[in-house]
Every structure is written in C-alpha cells, then in structure tokens.
Symmetry: C2
Amino acid sequence: MPTIRRIDHLAVVVSDLEASLAFWRDALGIPLAEVRQVPAEAAEVAFLPVADSEIELVRPTTEESGLAKYLVKRGPGMHHICLEVDDLAGMLQQLKAKGIRLINEEPRVATDGKKYAFIHPESTHGVLVELYELARP
Amino acid sequence: MPTIRRIDHLAVVVSDLEASLAFWRDALGIPLAEVRQVPAEAAEVAFLPVADSEIELVRPTTEESGLAKYLVKRGPGMHHICLEVDDLAGMLQQLKAKGIRLINEEPRVATDGKKYAFIHPESTHGVLVELYELARP
C-alpha cells in the first residue's frame, strides 16, 4: 500500500525574493541552501532546509504562468504543500479509486528525474497538494 | 542564537471535518492520531502525524472566532505553519530587533505547557507563522 513518508516542502509564492529572504533567512535564521532558476516553471526558487523538509520561496519570472496569475489574484503566501510518497503511480491509482480529482493523472518526471503529480484542490478542500516520489538508494 | 528545529505542523482550516478526513486519512492513508476538542480556541482539531511533523485539520466550533471569520472570508485551505524553535523568547527578541511585527510580543503558554507565539503575516509576506518551544528532556 502506497505510504506518505514525510513533508518534503512547503512552497510559498513571493513577489520579491530578497524581501522574503529578509524574513525567512535573516530574521528567522534558516540557512539558504540555494537559489535556482527554473525556466521550465518560469520561476526563481530559493530553497531553505528545515530538518528533513524545506521551505521553498517561489518567484514567478513571467506574467503568463499559472503561478504568476495566482500571485496577482491572491497575493503572496502559501501556495502548496508537497508530501513524499514511496509509490507515486500506486498512490495516484488509489486516489482515483477514492474519487479524488487529480491535476496530473499519471506521474510526471522533472528534469532531475524526480516523479511528481498534483492533486486538485477541489478534492482536498482548498489545499494544493503535490506528491513526490524520490529515487532512493 | 535561537534556532528553528523543524516544521512542527501545518494547520488547515476546514468546514467539514469528516469530508477533510475522507481525503487526508482515507484517500492518502495518513493515520489519524486523535480528534481533540479545544474549547480555548473554539475549535475541533484532527491530528495526522507525518514523520516528525503533523497535519492539523482545524474546524471552528463557533461563528465568532478569528478562525471562523477567516473560513468565511477565504474558504477552507491552509491556515498557518508552525515551526519549532529551541528558544522562543530569544527568537521573539531577535525578530523584534529585525523589525518583524509580532502578533504575540511575548511567549504565550498553552494549557499543556507548550510555549507559542504568532508572527504577523504582514512581516512574512502573507504566511501566518506560529513558533513553538517544546519542553524536551
């Protein structure tokens, strides 16, 4: 049976990355691991590890993406949570069998090989949930 | 220097606890540890542990609380994230020195002895952040 392992990350949508880092890094003291350009998502992402999870600050780099439109509509704040699952394809089957609406019906594969899928917030009562399956040794 | 240790929990505000459990517990398979009545917060809370963190589903039990008004205004969804810190009083001093606006200027103490404080979302760019200091042996 597919099992949720842990919270992989919380994604926060931001309009000004330096202003957000002034809170998360400079005031709270969470170390900044990396800022990465992610052209595939039209975003710049800052990764701040917290124990076995991460906080990700995501800044849209165009005005066209879904994320950019979300930012305009709702303002900066929580965007989604990502849970690690040991068997993503199996979990998506299980969710479909329970009548859960999925944004991605099948696992998608990121450029780094990570498998992921989003669940539709309609079925989660307002929370955008991403699932990751990580390659582990 | 006060240090953030981990994500303690994510709090999701819900209008129908059973409907939300149908997703988090029944579809995702996250075990439900407990449903607790919290009269001090006028809420019913379901606790679902995920590794070293928790997802908390919070249902307002009156129409008067801040949480109930938030639910009416924004609908169900993410409400706040809670980070564990090793020294809450020290962290609040550090945040004030950095010009961060706090909802609780001093640590508050819950009925179970846990110290907590909320940071104002104005200073976090839209994320309501709670800090916990836990009594540890």
